[in-house]
Amino acid sequence: MTTRLLHGDVAVDDTLPPLGVDVTATTVVLGALASRDWRPMHHDKDFAVERNGTRDIFLNTPNQAAWFERYVTDWTGPTGRLGRMTFRMNTSVFPGDHMVFGATVTGTDIDAAGCGWVDLDVALMVGDVATTTCAVRVALPVGDDDNPWNRRGDGWRPDSEGES
């Protein structure tokens, strides 16, 4: 049965279960092409090494965003609706790396429209290095009858600020 997390199930300082992924050249190329990123540093190792000065091809940013989304919605289930994500890219992820996603709940609130929000600090780690961090604001149902996806117009306020 698919998880459908409710807003009331979540508290500040909760941690999400980690997700580990072994990165291969296929991971990088598949992600780049799926996100329509044709730049050679994401599929041509010679170009990446000689022109970018990196040790190999590396995960592109739009595909990293898709990994972060997958990680968060694995936790929320399909009723979780992303409102906002802020990325900071520190260093690159290469074939051969073992990337591990982890996250902590930093805030929960219900906005003036009645939408339940959870704020998360998510990190993509390779070893001890946070290669990318992402602040995520995701809406969760406030009850069994609520569905954030039904919110439109003034009922959907992804720009709202949390109280954390």
Binding site: T2, G31, A66, D74, R84, T86, P158
Partner: protein, 181 residues
């Protein structure tokens, strides 16, 4: 970061200042939103969210199939080639314009915020437009001397509904030829 100059930067040209707040490069994506790319993205990230695989779940929760929100920028990325074009198209042209106009040959994207509004649906024709929001005073970082700028890319569908906004903060710079960090 400091404001101590190590390399002189030219003043921002009036033509560049006039672009702040103006809509630029409004264009429609090269094809309607389609399921193939959605499944490719989910496969690339091993994303089993039933919203994107199970029509019954999509019908129940989102009134039909939608795209993963983080695919927002996918729908405006140009084809690698199209008839009559001799140079690859650049997705974030306003950014590359600033590099040229401010004579700052290097640039990095230091942060990126995506705000998601209405869901993107199969068959949508996604239109994007770029808005230069701000340009900073000269700054010196460990990369060199340059300026920060913020560019928003707004995405709308064929009904003019706002789908999302990507806000890029970039630092355009000249390498510090003096070697200091």
């Amino acid at each position: 970061m400091s404001d101590v100059p190590t390399t002189d930067l030219a003043a921002i040209p009036d033509g560049v200042l006039a672009r702040i707040g103006q809509v630029q490069y409004e264009k429609e994506g090269g094809f309607p939103v389609e399921h193939g790319y959605i499944w490719s993205t989910c496969a690339a990230t091993e994303n089993g969210n039933p919203l994107f695989w199970d029509d019954a779940v999509a019908a129940e929760l989102t009134d039909g199939p939608i795209a993963p929100p983080t695919m927002l920028s996918v729908w405006f990325r140009p084809h690698h080639w199209s008839p009559g074009r001799t140079e690859p198209a650049v997705p974030l042209q306003a950014h590359f314009d600033l590099k040229d106009d401010l004579d700052l040959p290097e640039a990095i994207i230091s942060s990126n915020t995506i705000t998601f509004h209405d869901p993107v649906r199969i068959g949508d024709r996604v239109r994007s437009r770029q808005v230069l929001k701000s340009i900073s005073e000269p700054k010196t970082t460990k990369l060199g001397r340059g300026r920060f700028w913020v560019i928003d890319v707004e995405y709308l569908n064929q009904d003019d509904a706002l789908l999302g906004v990507e806000s890029y903060t970039a630092f355009g710079y000249r390498r510090d030829e003096g070697g200091s960090s």
